[in-house]
Amino acid sequence: MNAVPAKAVHGNERTHVERRVRDLLARRAVLPGVIESVDAEADLWELGMESLAMVGVMVAVEDEFGIEFPDELLTRETFRSLSVITDAVMSLTQEEDRP
């Protein structure tokens, strides 16, 4: 591990988290046929995600990663794209990893 630059570890982990988020949304049939291949930066609201579907996504992401979103992150912004969701998950899992 020492030989691998921190940035690369971070990059790999990020890709991994993003894939798990994408798979999770696909399993929950959020934007079926679209979510599997959509760009991570794409606006999920513009692609037609409905607000009640977002609640299901919130619950599923919390359960999948064993995290709890604080209220200030429970907004439309946090769930706007796969990339933003991934950012939120990573910031919360890193907080919990900290001793």
Partner: protein, 379 residues
């Protein structure tokens, strides 16, 4: 500033006792638009209440607007509801008037106190405002839409309408935009009658809206964001202000009736006390939600799940408890309350209030609330 706001609230109280009360019974009986009241509101600059002072408005914040809605409702519930709905449309426009042409149009709305209606409901979808069937269609430089809306309050009387639609013919139902269409360039076709139980002066039939417009009339903020940040919270707070005013008026009439009967009638009804504690709870809930909504409108707070749940809860509580208060007032007033006429009549107040649980149906709000409660973090 404070003086202006105080005088705006005072003007609402005076108008409620005057021109609103004077025409309320006739407006209700004939289910006609309260044109005298709207003329008076305009004369006092009250249609631009929510606009900032530097844009030519009164600069009223959300708690002040809620107080004004309650004050107006004491004179005429329909007028107060039209005013409240208009403030919501105005706030939506002010929240996203980027671009020179749109900004100029919004400035004109404020300056001339143009009346703005909203067409968010749709045939086949009903009141679920986060999905649309109709779409903006482009034809060279101009765009157009054709919407069959199920309920458009004062649409025929309005100077402009805010219409929700899918972004384009290929867009999914939830990818919506809001379009500010000018009534002069819009064909409105009344599709049904208007003969409801209450809030009759709001004149809210089904309408077919056919409009042509320039691209800049499509608001730059996605409709879903506008709904979450402005339209839903402000609607719930200002509608609740109206319902609170109607309930408070009913309670006051019950007190007047009890006093007029005098000591000979025995001790005063316990309903008088019940109405007060119910109103006190509603007032506190309304005030808290109004302050929170103000923070969301200014960007000081985000419209989180817990916030949405709290403003939805305000709407649920107010729409149910205000009806309970009016029913209690009617019990106190007896036949004088049941009568459509006389100083102790509660009839119109109650009929108006019975629309409250249906405006964004409480059954749907409860279902949404149950979902939101799964993730909401309480403070």
């Amino acid at each position: 500033m404070t003086g202006d706001r105080e005088s705006a609230a005072g003007a609402c109280r005076e108008l409620a006792k005057g021109v609103l009360a004077e025409h309320a019974a006739e407006v209700d009986r004939d289910a006609r638009f309260p044109k005298e009241a709207l003329r008076a509101l305009r004369a006092h600059g009250l249609l631009a209440a929510a606009a900032p002072v530097e844009r030519g408005g009164l600069g009223a914040d959300v708690p002040a607007l809620a107080g004004m809605a309650a004050a107006l409702a004491r004179g005429c519930g329909a007028t107060a509801m039209i005013w409240a709905m208009h403030q919501v449309q105005l706030a939506c426009l002010l929240a996203c008037d980027e671009g020179a042409e749109l900004r100029e149009a919004v400035t004109r709305v404020v300056r001339d106190q143009l009346l703005i209606a909203s067409a968010t409901s749709e045939a086949g979808i009903g009141g679920a405002l986060r999905t649309s069937a109709c779409a903006v269609e482009r034809d060279g430089a101009s765009a157009r839409l054709d919407k069959r809306a199920t309920t458009v309050s004062y649409g025929v009387e309005a100077d402009a309408l805010l219409v929700s639609a899918r972004r384009g013919p290929g867009s999914p139902p939830a990818d919506q935009v809001a379009v500010l269409v000018d009534s002069a360039r819009t064909q409105l076709e009344v599709l049904g009658g208007w003969n409801p139980l209450g809030m009759r002066g709001t004149c809210s039939p089904a309408l077919r809206v056919r409009a042509e417009f320039e691209d800049w009339r499509i608001l730059p903020v996605p409709f879903g964001d506008l709904v979450a940040r402005v339209m839903t919270p402000l609607s719930h707070v200002l509608w609740s202000g109206v319902w609170y005013g109607l309930a408070a008026e009913a309670a006051d009439r019950a007190v007047c009736h009890a006093r007029a009967r005098g000591d000979g009638a025995g001790p005063p009804s316990g309903s008088l006390a019940e109405m007060r504690w119910r109103l006190a709870g509603l007032e506190a809930q309304l005030d808290a939600a109004a302050r929170e909504t103000q923070d969301v409108l200014t960007g000081a707070a985000e419209p989180t799940v817990a916030f949405t749940l709290r403003v939805n809860s305000l709407k649920l509580a107010m729409s149910q408890v205000a009806v309970d208060v009016a029913l209690a007032a009617m019990r106190v007033c007896g036949m004088a309350g049941y009568s459509e006429e006389g100083p102790h009549s509660v009839a119109r107040l109650l009929r108006d209030l019975l629309s409250a649980p249906l405006m964004i149906n409480n059954e749907r709000l409860v279902a949404i609330g149950a979902q939101l409660a799964l993730v909401a973090r309480e403070r």
